[in-house]
């Protein structure tokens, strides 16, 4: 049956078509790299448990969206119920980097009154020879929007765990601090099946050993 988890976070993965959204998620949830994957039509779903500290598990519900611009009127409806997002661009495709700004605007305007914690991901970093976006440039852009920046490769399994785990940790911190709260009718964060729901860090430490069953 379902493993025990503290919280469930809903994450949305966005970015231009063919930057590798589905491949990145597949690597993270299935541990393998698919040479070719179908284009995503509408939205696809994935899930995985992440252990952010020993005994503290978060269930991630990952929404993989279609990248083509035509689908935005559909996918924008899915922002509202997400707590976090990975915004991908392809480091070998400058255009996909230039569109990052547009994606952020799109998300920000449709997520009200909530907000999404974004992580900027420069994907396909195994193709360094064809790089069109430098790491410094991407870092600068991420900093300007208050995001972290990570470079990943689904093919070579570089930083894939790190990207998802860091985003999850950041969200977890915000939840612990009370900056993000669980709300009725909002699917972004849900509390999990833990005997006594715990919020402060000390209580979590006390109870965490029990959860590993």
């Amino acid at each position: 049956m379902e493993a025990i988890w503290l919280y469930q976070f809903r994450l949305i993965v966005i970015g231009d078509s063919t930057v590798g959204k589905s491949c990145l998620i597949r690597r993270f949830t299935e541990g393998r790299f698919a040479q070719v994957s179908d284009p995503t039509v509408g939205v696809d779903f994935f899930s995985r448990l992440v252990e952010i500290e020993p005994g503290k598990r978060i269930k991630l519900q990952i929404w993989d969206t279609a990248g083509q611009e035509r689908f935005r009127s559909i996918t924008r409806a899915y922002y509202r119920n997400s707590v976090g997002g990975l915004l991908l661009f392809d480091i070998t495709n400058r255009r996909s980097f230039q569109n990052v700004h547009e994606w952020l605007e799109e998300a920000r305007s449709h997520v009200q009154p909530h907000s999404i914690v974004f992580l900027l991901v420069g994907h396909k970093c195994d193709l360094d020879a064809q790089r069109q976006v430098s790491q410094q440039e991407a870092e600068k852009l991420a900093a300007a929007y208050g995001m972290r920046y990570v470079e990943t490769s689904a093919r070579d399994a570089i930083n894939v765990e790190r990207a998802f785990t860091e985003l999850t940790r950041d969200i977890f911190e915000l939840v612990k601090r009370g900056d993000i709260t669980i709300q009725e009718g909002w699917e972004g964060v849900k509390s999990g099946f833990v005997p006594n729901v715990v919020h402060s860090s000390e209580e979590v430490t006390k109870s965490d050993r029990r959860c590993l069953c």
């Binding site: 039509v41 509408g42 083509q68």
Partner: protein
Amino acid sequence: MTEMSPAMLALSALPVQSAPGWKLFGKVPLRESPPKDSKTIQQEYEAKASKGGSSPSQSAQGRRKNLEFEPLSTTALILEDRPANLPAKSEEEAQRHRQEYDEMVAEAKKREMKEAQKKKQQMKDRFRQEESIANAMVVWNSEILPNWESMRGTRRVRDLWWQGLPPNVRGKVWSLAIGNELNITSGITMEHRRQIVKSSLDLIKLDISRTFPSLFIFQKGGPYHDLLHSVLGAYTCYRPDVGYVQGMSFIAAVLILNLEEADAFIAFANLLNKPCQMAFFRVDHELMLKYFAAFEVFFEENLPKLFSHFQSSNLTPDLYLIDWIFTLYSKSLPLDVACRVWDVFCRDGEEFLFRTGLGILRLYEEVLLGMDFIHIAQFLTRLPDDVSADRLFSCIACTQMTSSNRKWTQVFSSLMKDKEMDKSSNSSPKNS
């Protein structure tokens, strides 16, 4: 010399083999030599063993002659009598062992007969299926197609149609049923090819190789790569207002697999021109929501338990219907099953797409009732790849497309009329 199975080789290393009374029976890999049944092998072995000096039990051999059958599928070793260096079995023990042996043989025989019967049945089914396809093909070619307009609506043709179109008339029937309202005369013209809009070209190129990747025919260098490219490219030029939308490549690919090049393009353009497809490929969100709302009316009517489970899980139909409708099930169902859905979609129109959706939900109702949001969403966007067409179609047949005496089109058009009044488009309309 008989080819030795690994088990026998392993045995030959054991000292015990030299002792009399061991009986081998087992499946021997078939080689160029005429297949030997276990009995021959055993006899050979016993003959050899007796040459070696010790005599095999006469009574055992005599008894075994009465058994006209020895199982082939077992690899085992039965100890008839104990090796000479051990005390002999008592009479009861020997008898019990004989009885056990006979039971084992009988059991194995039963199993093998069952297996053989099953295989025979499968072959029979396959022949029957091929025969019925061949018969249907004759009927379609000689009776129905020459009299298409007068026969297409008859009960007999509709029934035959439901059972699945024979593959070699499929394309023809699809073409006729989809029609050519747009009056496209020339398929893909050179004009089309030249005008292809550059911006969607790149995406088309990328998507073509991602269309049915497991078939290896649309990928670069594959036989249908260029054709798929020109159908999609021609369409973006023919309808620049619609352009290329992801999901289209699957529809074009299914058509290409069943139709000639020119016909494939005509069917593609006309198919996408249907109201439901236009609404989706233009991503007219408001109109799409009407389709989803109509779907929910029939969902609640047909599967009330599952409907309320989905509602309490906040699982809205857009999450699975978008993929299903955009690709006309060709991405989520096995290709042969999807083609049968297309058959009846050509016969019944858009309503059948939603009826199929309900059929899928009915087929998996029990499993879905035990799942939570994310598992349902994952399940429905990646359906099991062993969906049986017959089981799905019997579930579709059980799905009634009437709600309070209203048909699909009536429900849909009344939802369209509510358009102005209906503020919260996500909630399902009540119809009682």
